[in-house]
């Protein structure tokens, strides 16, 4: 009796296990095929549309020969630079506070909660907030509003990853440092942050990759523009006053072209998407590089 029963259940278990494996593999395949389709579609349309003019020209106004997206590339680069300059330090300091100073403070829980909620807020909401706070009072759509909106998206991501990464630094490092006569701030700056550098960089790059592809928060803030972001007055190079006007960005230009009626502009949008995806891909590769390098030094 026992041997038959156990045989039956063993066969059932085996069949169950086999079915499970087939189902999981099948779904993974479906996802892979979909991903491959999207990538192939994108590469096809992107590569047939991309040319040198994309990187060197601004919109020409000619529907048949629409020029390039130099203005969008420059605009996005400037927006991300400013957003990072504001967002990364704020996020990192918040993360350091959460991990090192607030462990038992009444402020820790609420701060962490707010950071989590902010990280999940739809980016269009951030755009509307930027419109109310930075566009309406200043009287016009402007680059500052766009950059600050992006920074606002970065802060909670950087803060939470910083906190998590610093928490992974062994307590024994902190004890050893303090026992050698280091202050708390000295310990954080000399030991805790340096030993987490690799993973901190990963968190920062994730945040940059995230905002590089954002369109929604820019629609109500920077608006977009068909001209180079660097205006010759008062300086031929980039000048902060350039941000006082509606400001171009790659994503917003892609959005405008892709939703517009003209086939040549749609082609340009495809090229823009290819460039954007490639940039994020390169960022992700460097993230992987940093992440594995950290793991190697940590063991």
């Amino acid at each position: 009796m026992i041997s038959i029963a156990s045989n039956y259940y063993a066969r059932l278990a085996k069949a169950h296990s086999f079915t499970m494996q087939i189902v999981c593999t099948a779904f993974a395949m479906i996802i892979l095929v979909l991903l491959a389709l999207v990538t192939a579609f994108l590469l096809y349309h992107g590569f047939t549309s991309i040319n040198l003019a994309f990187f060197t020209q601004t919109p020409s106004g000619d529907i048949q020969n629409p020029g390039g997206m130099l203005h969008g590339l420059m605009g996005t680069a400037i927006l991300i630079t400013i957003a990072s300059t504001v967002g990364i330090p704020l996020g990192m300091l918040t993360g350091v506070y959460l991990s090192e100073y607030a462990s038992n403070s009444v402020l820790a829980g609420p701060t962490r909660f707010v950071a989590d909620v902010l990280a999940g807020v739809p980016s269009i909401v951030v755009g509307i907030l930027g419109y109310e706070l930075l566009v309406v009072p200043l009287g016009d759509y402007n680059g500052w509003a766009g950059a600050i909106a992006l920074a606002f998206i970065m802060v909670p991501i950087v803060a939470r990853t910083t906190e998590e990464m610093l928490r992974l630094v062994p307590k024994s490092y902190r004890e050893a440092s303090v026992a050698l006569g280091a202050t708390k701030a000295g310990t954080i700056l000399r030991v805790v942050i340096p030993s987490a550098t690799g993973s901190l960089v990963t968190g920062i790059m994730l945040a940059i990759a995230r905002v590089a592809g954002e369109t929604a928060p820019l629609i109500f803030t920077a608006l977009g523009s068909r001209f180079l972001p660097v205006i010759r007055e008062p300086s031929p190079y980039f000048h902060p006053t350039d941000l006082q006007h509606p400001f171009p960005s790659l994503t917003k230009q892609i959005f405008d072209y892709a939703t517009g009626p003209y086939p040549e502009q749609k082609r340009l949008a495809w090229a823009g998407i290819l460039v954007l995806i490639s940039l994020i891909f390169v960022l992700n590769l460097s993230i992987r590089y940093f992440a594995t390098r950290t793991r190697r030094t940590a063991t």
Binding site: S103, N104, P170, S172, Y173, R174, E175, A176, S177, V178, A179, L180, G181, A182, T183, G186, R190, V191, P194, S195, T297, A298, T299
Partner: protein
């Protein structure tokens, strides 16, 4: 003064014959609860050498739990003092009270006083950072920072503001020589300290602790994570260090206490039970509780 294993172990068979005739059963550890009125036995020899540390009526609470009960002990200068006792007896807590590392734990409260070279260290206005520079500490698990060997050794000096390269290099060599590690690492000072073996890492931590020339070296079970050969090297080192430093070592291993220390303190349930020259404590303990512990009957 130090003993090796052979002088301690042969006594065991004799004791086994003596003990059953005693009134109190000793077969189980839980019957050996220290009573409130129990007196601490301190051998006279302890007070014949000028103390570097004087612990006075020292009590420590973790929240509402009392972890140390009015400990009184003098730690003689230039000697190795071992603290033994079962897990949770408070020996590590006492050690970490000496350099005020318990300050890092929330909810810790102390009464009583510890004097270092006659100065009260729990008095208001004491500079804890300056205090910790005078008390080197070596931890249970070796905890070199994820930096180069050189950077690890000179960490304490850098924290103290020393920047001259020649001074740092000289201190690095002297400390590594003091920790019997120089010959093994002199060609790879710039390599990561994490590439060293466990025993080498622990000796590196000792080098790092003695680089700041502390008055007292505190060791919290420094060999519990090491294999016998590495343990032997660290014990040899502790034996050599006695000429220049006062060493306080917490250990689980009674043979180790017997091998490396001049004085031994036996603690149980947060109280100092018996404290005297290592030889007398192991061979002629005055209290039955000590005798039961050192002969391996409980704990």
């Amino acid at each position: 003064m130090s003993l090796d294993e052979s002088t301690v172990i042969p006594r065991e068979p004799i004791r086994r014959q003596v003990l059953p005739s005693r009134t109190m059963p000793v077969s189980h550890g839980h019957k050996m609860i220290a009573s409130e009125n129990q007196t601490t036995q301190i051998h006279e020899e302890v007070n014949q050498i000028a103390p570097v540390l004087v612990i006075e009526n020292f009590c420590l609470y973790y929240g509402k739990t009392k972890a140390l009960h009015s400990v009184n002990m003098n730690i003689p200068r230039g000697q190795v003092t071992a603290m033994i006792g079962p897990s949770g007896c408070g020996k590590s807590t006492l050690l970490r009270s000496i350099n005020r590392l318990n300050d890092l734990i929330d909810g810790v409260r102390t009464t009583g006083e510890i004097h270092l070279n006659g100065q009260p260290i729990y008095a208001p206005g004491i500079d804890v950072i300056a205090l910790r520079k005078r008390l080197g500490m070596v931890f249970q698990k070796s905890n070199p920072f994820p930096m180069s060997i050189y950077d690890n050794v000179v960490y304490g000096l850098r924290v103290a503001g020393e920047r001259r390269r020649d001074v740092l290099m000289e201190a690095c060599q002297a400390s590594l020589e003091g920790a019997a590690l120089w010959n093994e690492v002199k060609d790879r000072l710039k390599d990561s300290a994490l590439g060293l073996s466990g025993g080498q890492q622990q000796r590196l931590c000792i080098a790092r602790a003695i680089a700041v020339k502390p008055d007292v070296l505190l060791m919290d079970e420094p060999t519990s994570a090491l294999d016998p050969i590495a343990t032997g090297k660290v014990e040899d080192l502790i034996y050599q260090l006695r000429s220049n430093y006062t060493v306080v070592i917490v250990t689980h291993n009674m043979q180790q206490a017997a091998r490396v220390s001049d004085f031994t303190a036996f603690m149980y349930m947060g109280k100092l039970v018996e404290y005297g020259p290592t030889g007398s404590l192991f061979q002629m303990p005055r209290l039955k509780q000590t005798e039961d512990y050192v002969t391996g009957r409980f704990g």
